[in-house]
Amino acid sequence: MRFAEIREHLSHFRVGIAGAGGLGSNCAVALARSGVGTIVISDFDVIEPANLNRQYYFTSQVGMLKTAALKENLSRINPDIIVIAHAEKLNTKNIPVIFDGCDVIVEAFDKDEMKEMLIETVQTSMPGIPLIVGSGLAGWGKSDAIKFRKIDDTLYVCGDESTTVDEELPPMGPRVAMVANMQANTVIEILMKQFKDYFRV
């Protein structure tokens, strides 16, 4: 299958990304490059210098809202897609509204309790919508510990499922982007599932 055909197919879908930090910004970039038609991003934070070790932003964007900066960066990569940005903190009430109509949702939060809240909300209030979770990406190395797991048709996990970030084991560009790109790759696999017979390895 040619990329032009893949891009045309992906242009008909809408993908939600909850969080525009290390996972969300890098995942959004991969989806924009692939031609996913509409990307809905949500994050209430502003860019700090410390974010630049892993998040897809630039020094000139420090102090900007992540959603505004990401929208700008995505439009520079692919002006043909629609980016809908919500500078809001997500909660159990607004998640089903903000991500209404999304074909797939990506969990891209930092804190474990936010991950839990999003998963519980999407899985109970938005039945049937596939959710791609990132869990376990701290530190460096151990590339072979990062894995992909399908729990069922609506829940997928990318990450090592064992490392937690802390002062001594910070999140860093390579491993965070590995997980973010696995999440993006899973989104595309789901959206391309009708063409799975084309896929030869």
């Binding site: 839990e116 998963i119 899985q123 729990i151 069922d152």
Partner: protein, 67 residues
């Protein structure tokens, strides 16, 4: 009873098994997790009241901070 826990058979020598009891018996102490039984998510506040039955497919996912 035998259940499927993360795709592997697990035998529990009990008649009744709640989600909380299963976590105790397995000594799963890590708090941040998602549990699904036969594809249905069990909210944390129902771990005591939700029973796991013979043959149930239980999936557990640990949530690690970082993103």
């Amino acid at each position: 009873m035998t259940i499927i826990l993360n795709n592997r058979p697990e035998v529990f020598d009990v008649e009744h098994l709640s989600v909380s009891r299963m976590l105790e018996l397995k000594r799963f102490t890590f708090r941040m997790r998602i549990i699904k039984i036969n594809g249905v998510l069990v909210p944390k506040d129902r771990y005591d009241s939700t029973s796991i039955m013979e043959g149930d497919n239980v999936q557990m996912l640990y949530l690690m901070s970082g993103g």
